[in-house]
Amino acid sequence: MVALRRLAAARVSTLLGTAVALSGCAMSGTLAPRGPDAQVAAGIWWYMFWLGTAIFVGWLAIFVVAMVRRHPIDADVEDERRLHQRFIVGGGIILPCLVFATLFVYDLWGINALPRGDEVVVDATAYQFWWEFGYEQPELVTANELYIPTGTDVEVRLRTDDVIHSFWVPQLSGKRDMIPGRTNTLTLHATEPGRYLGECTEFCGLQHANMRFEVVAVPPDEYHAWLDDMVQPAVEPSTAAEQRGYDAFMTSSCAACHVVRGTPADGRVGPDLTHFASRRWLGAGAAPNDRAHLGSWVVNAQVLKPGNTMPPVEIAADRLADLLTYLESLE
């Protein structure tokens, strides 16, 4: 057990890095938009970047000249005053007016250009420190991976179960807070299939850093196939080891906190595990979902993600192996 933990801790960094790099999700945020909302923001950013650079460089050039040059010692005071006036009115009033006018128009245009549709509606609920996603048709709950169809306006209804969180998928759209007592909405629209990094961006406590999710955008037919898969109850144990793992799950503390649809496990504290093995990450992006990390996570989730809600589990080594086998079967 100790060895397992050490192994997990030692390998987490390299594994996670490799996994992310290999996963093909181009996680370059705002600058690599894959949806109309992010596209608008990126467009405004580049406009402001060039405008801001031009203004900064232009002003700095004047400023440097001002520092280097020597004003004639016998300059007329009135001329000087007029010169000052021209500087201040030109740079302090006219220049900001021009910037202001173009930017404000861009601002308002941008707000109105954002997608607002709700062809598909999903619920996103934030918990310290993970995400639950709910679909209505068919009714279905999953965690930390949000599947959406490409080319479709997906309205995400944002709620929180505890503190304030913020929902951000940089490549698809801006962020929106999840505030107790309120439901905010945000429209996601992915133009291309892909896996997009999602993050919590409001400081929400100890593990704010490890509160990520993935938006998986797939073509609509694949999306519907996925829904059909997901709505199925968990697979029955098919081998002796899986059966022993199933027993271990149902008789230990696991079942008190997690749902596995089609079994007696109906705890609502942690993520729904019905199709756990189909996910790529453990603990909302804390570690990749492989056997070594899963083992470490089950024995003591506080090692990989200190401060999350899952308590250490007392379990014998052979039972642990069976439990992991069962969990890995939950495709």
Binding site: L16, G29, F63, H84, F87, I164, C200, T201
Partner: protein, 644 residues
């Protein structure tokens, strides 16, 4: 009031009498009862700088943890506590108090006054600041360091926070707010009533204008930061539900109250430093500031607009677009006065005959150039579709640090090089000053510039770690190297201070040939500031009209027939002036030294401590002690000697 009679009083006798009248008592009682604005300003400087170093150490700890992905230098718990204390320390115990420090020292001198209008309140505001700082930092000794982030969003800081950590924060913030409010009221009255005769509002040095503006901003905005944490403390300690959504409260109420203070405070902490630059740059260009009226208008306008922009911290909370658009426009509006200020400086330099590149000038110009970057990114985050991306990422971290470091910290070093000779009587070393400038500035840009990029590629702020493979590693490492470089620059500046102190090259009254009144005093300044209260006829009284420098009237020698106010009875007398044109309004008899401000602050500490430990008896004793101290304070109101 006495009129100098050349037949009986020599100038020396008058000075001797003033010296005896205005000096603090010696020894410990003198130390604790001083109400001299210079001594208080000195204490403010030292205390604020110590907190600057503490906040800096916390920042270095965070940067060390973030230097590499998946680092384990700090555990998440300690990291979150350091991030909370870094923001809290910098805002409440450094940025907001360093302006009070220089304000205290410079404002009375620059307007030709002998002290602040309320000397004892001035002492109170310092002692309260000190005790509030001790209160906040005592959390380190009981292992309950605040951990909810410096803007302490509910309900993370109420229902989801255990132990007394956030009680320390909430009560500490209310506590330190008292200090700022008391100080601001004092500045306002000082500027309106204590200016030397003839110092009309249009002759007011710009640093005084900016301090006056921020003082009004403090008076209007600090009630929000007193109320909000108090409500938080009630929610936490008494069990009320102001912010509890489940019981009809509203977590957004916290954000509105917090940012109603939280945005003005940003301008509060950079307007006075811009005021310092308004003093420093004209001195070294040897010319009056260009467009004085524009500069005043820009300063005051910034103060006004600052109250209409707080919602730009809340664009992502899901407010209606129309509401948010209003604040987006207002935020863009700030670019007008800021641009005016920048072109005032540009025009001033443009018509300079010869610029003297002293260390102070270098720091000042460096501050302006760096600040411009923060100003430009500030316009960017006012645009909502972009802000929804940039908000709460490292882009905003970069933006706010550019504004605050270039808008407050760099000007602070400029001010040290410029005014410290006045405070201490000796010069800081120029060469070391310039070296520390370059090291700090290069560090600053290496530290914060890559963070813009980090934010754009998706790094959220306030994360204690990040995985590798996201392309964040190099920029984070560069940022950390920059942080150490910056710290190195600060260390060189500190070394400069101690080295220069040992060398003690005498400064003389006006080492820079500056034009404003603070340079008409001796260095260090005599306890009474001015032997004879000067009569002001010009914006730069020490410069002649053609821009040259005239002989400095050291200490303003008492002239026969002039107003000297050196009564035999050792009362603290000074002049009161009235109206915008500072007409002679009579003689003010000021209160003298008193230990009661210290006792009031200490009793307040006791009361807050009682609240903190949920002990009504301690709280009660504290409140009674505050009342008792105030009675003692006012009993011997007229004469300093009676008040002890």
């Amino acid at each position: 009031m006495s009129i100098l009679d050349p037949a009986t009083d020599s100038a020396q006798q008058v000075k001797h009498r003033l010296e005896r009248t205005w000096s603090d008592r010696t020894g410990t009682p003198g130390f604790f009862s001083s109400v001299d604005h210079k001594r208080i300003g000195h204490r403010y400087l030292v205390t604020s700088f110590v907190f600057f170093l503490l906040g800096g150490i916390e920042a270095l700890m965070m940067r060390t943890q973030l230097a590499t992905p998946d680092a384990a230098v700090l555990d998440p718990d300690l990291y979150n506590r350091m991030l909370t204390m870094h923001g809290t320390t910098m805002f409440f115990l450094f940025l907001g108090t360093i302006i009070a420090a220089w304000g205290n020292y410079i404002i009375p001198l620059a307007i030709g006054a002998r002290d602040m209008a309320y000397p004892r309140m001035n002492a109170l505001s310092y002692w309260v600041f000190l005790f509030a700082g001790i209160f906040l930092y005592s959390s380190f000794f009981v292992g309950a360091i605040p951990d909810g982030g410096w803007f302490a969003y509910v309900p993370l800081t109420t229902d989801y926070s255990e132990g007394p950590a956030m009680d320390f924060w909430a009560l500490g913030v209310v506590f330190v707010g008292i200090s700022s409010t008391v100080g601001a009221i004092n500045f306002i009255v000082t500027v309106f009533k204590m200016r030397a005769p003839g110092m009309t509002m249009s002759r007011l040095p710009l640093v005084v204008w900016s301090t006056l503006t921020t003082s009004f901003m403090i008076v209007l905005s600090f009630p929000a930061i007193t109320l909000a944490p108090l409500l938080m403390a009630f929610d936490r300690i008494v069990g009320t539900h102001f912010f509890d959504a489940a019981l009809g409260g509203d977590p957004l109420l916290w954000q509105h109250l917090f940012w109603f203070w939280g945005h003005p405070i940003v301008y509060i902490v950079f307007l006075p430093p811009i005021g310092w630059l308004y003093m420093i740059i004209p001195t070294f260009t040897g010319r009056p500031v260009a467009g004085y009226t524009w500069a005043v208008a820009a300063t005051v306008a910034t103060g006004f607009i600052s109250f209409g922009v707080w919602v730009h911290h809340m664009f992502a909370t899901g407010l209606p677009d129309v509401t948010a658009s209003f604040f987006s426009v207002a935020s863009l509006g700030v670019s007008f006065p800021t641009a005016v200020a920048f072109f005032v400086f540009t025009a001033t330099l443009w018509t300079a005959r010869r610029i003297r590149w002293t260390a102070a000038m270098l720091w000042a110009v460096g501050a302006l150039i760096s600040f411009a970057i923060g100003g430009i990114t500030g316009v960017m985050v006012a645009i909502m579709p972009f802000d929804w991306q940039a908000h709460d990422t490292y882009f905003v971290v970069a933006h706010l640090h550019y504004v605050l470091v270039a808008g407050n910290v760099l000007p602070m070093f400029a001010a040290f090089h410029y005014w410290l000779p006045k405070v201490t009587g000796w010069m800081l070393d120029e060469r070391l000053g310039k070296i520390s400038f370059w090291v700090t500035t290069v560090g600053l840009h290496l530290l914060f510039f890559p963070q813009h990029w980090l934010g754009l590629v998706g790094m959220p702020r306030r994360v204690y770690t990040y995985p590798s493979g996201l392309g964040w590693d190099t920029a984070n490492l560069a940022s950390t190297v920059g942080a150490y470089l910056f710290a190195g620059g600060v260390l060189i500046a500190i070394g400069n201070f101690f080295l220069s102190r040992r060398r003690a090259v005498p400064a003389g009254p006006n080492p820079w040939g500056a034009g404003t009144l603070e340079w008409a005093t001796t260095s260090p300044v005599a306890p009474y500031n001015f032997a004879q209260i000067p009569v002001v006829t010009d914006r730069y009284p020490l410069w002649t009209a053609d821009g040259g420098v005239v002989d400095v009237p050291v200490g303003i020698e008492p002239q026969p027939g002039g107003v000297v106010l050196a009564p035999e009875e050792h009362h603290h007398e000074t002049l009161e002036t009235v109206g915008l044109d500072a007409r002679y309004g009579g003689v003010l008899e000021m209160v003298g030294p008193s230990p009661w401000p210290l006792w009031t602050a200490a009793s307040t500490f006791l009361a807050f401590f009682g609240f903190l430990i949920h002990n009504a008896i301690t709280l009660g004793i504290g409140v009674v002690a505050v009342a008792g101290s105030l009675i003692g304070w006012h009993k011997g109101h007229i004469s300093g000697e009676d008040a002890s």
